[in-house]
Symmetry: C2
Subunit: 184 residues, 2 copies
C-alpha cells in the first residue's frame, strides 16, 4: 500500500487524515524537511530521500507491494509535487500556493499557477494577458519579463518570510524558494 | 480579531493550526456544513450564517473589533471562498480542487481553475487552448462547450462521490457540487 501524503509548508499544517496515514505506516519516506514536519506522527521506520529520481520511486513502489508505505511531500503532492511521479493514493496538504494567496488575499480562480522552479517557463508567461500569475520561482527566474506590471515577491514562506511589492521588473529574487505574484 | 479559517471538504481535513484558531475563538461563524466539520474544536459560541452577503460580512467585521472571531470556510478561503469578502487573516484549508487533482493525479501547474458555480464562465473556457481546465460547476454548466475533448466529471466529492470519464460533450451533470476536468 502506497500513500503520498502532503505535510504542508509550515509547522502545524498536517491534517487529521494525513496524521493517521503517517502514524499507521510501517515505512515513511521523505525529504529531511518533510520528515521533520511529520516527525511527531511517525511511529514506524523512516528513510530520508536523497535522490529524487525515477530509480528511487520504482524502489519505493516495489516495497509498497509488501508493506504499508507513506511518501511525504512538502506542501501538496499535486502542486509541482511527487503525486504524478509515484503510483499510489494522494492525500492533499497545504501548499505554498495557498499560503501566498492567503497573504495577498487573491483567489485561485483568478490566477494561473506556473512552475518556474529549476525550469524555463517563458512560454507560459503569456497567460498574464488573461489572468494574474503566481510563479513558483528560484534565483534563476527573471521577473523583468513581466515589465511594469504590479507584483509581489514572497521569499522563504513560513521560514524567514519576507514580502515586498513593486513593479515586476524591479523585483530582486534572493531565495530559491520564492513566489512571484503578478497582477494582470 | 478576525480569522477566516478553511475547514476542508471531507471529515478530518482540518489542520492543527486551524483547529487551534477555532478552539480559541469566542465566536465561530459558518455554514451548517462548515460548523459540522469543525464542531469538535468549537468551544465558544457558534452562529450559522444563513445569508452570504455584504451586510452579514460587515456585521461580523464589527463584532471582531471587540472579540476573537473565526469565520469558517468550507474548502480553502481563497478558492471561490470567503477570503476576499472579509477583512482578516486567512488560514488555508484543503479545497475540492486539491481533492479532484489528487483523484485524477494531475498537477495544479498544468491546470487552470475556473469558477462556473452559479456564474457564467464561457469566456474563460478559451484557456483550454493552453492548459487543462478544472471547472467548479453546477447543473447549469454546459460541458458540451468543450466538445470532444477527454474529460472527467466528479460529483459530490467526499459525500456520495461519483467519478465518470468520457468526451466533454457526453457528460451529464446531476449535482450542483460538481467538478468537470477537461484535458487540453
Amino acid at each position: 500500500m502506497l500513500n503520498i501524503v502532503g505535510v504542508g509548508i509550515c509547522e502545524g499544517q498536517i491534517t487529521e487524515r494525513a496524521s493517521k496515514l503517517i502514524s499507521r505506516a510501517e515505512v515513511v519516506f521523505g525529504s529531511r524537511r518533510a520528515l521533520m514536519l511529520a516527525s511527531k506522527f511517525i511511529s514506524g521506520e523512516f528513510v530520508e530521500i536523497k535522490k529524487f529520481e525515477d530509480e528511487t520511486y520504482r524502489e519505493i513502489e516495489k516495497l509498497a507491494e509488501k508493506r504499508n508505505v507513506v511518501v511525504l511531500s512538502t506542501g501538496d503532492p499535486m502542486v509541482a509535487g511527487l503525486g504524478k511521479r509515484l503510483k499510489g493514493n494522494v492525500e492533499p496538504g497545504i501548499s505554498s500556493v495557498q499560503l501566498a494567496l492567503a497573504r495577498l488575499k487573491e483567489d485561485l480562480c483568478s490566477t494561473v499557477v506556473i512552475d518556474a522552479h529549476a525550469r524555463k517557463a517563458e512560454d507560459e508567461l503569456e497567460l498574464i494577458e488573461r489572468r494574474n500569475l503566481l510563479i513558483l520561482a528560484d534565483r534563476g527566474f527573471d521577473p523583468s519579463l513581466l515589465g511594469k506590471r504590479r507584483a509581489a515577491l514572497i521569499e522563504d514562506i513560513c521560514g524567514n518570510e519576507r514580502i515586498s511589492f513593486g513593479r515586476a521588473e524591479e523585483l530582486r529574487i534572493s531565495s530559491d524558494y520564492s513566489i512571484v505574484f503578478v497582477w494582470k
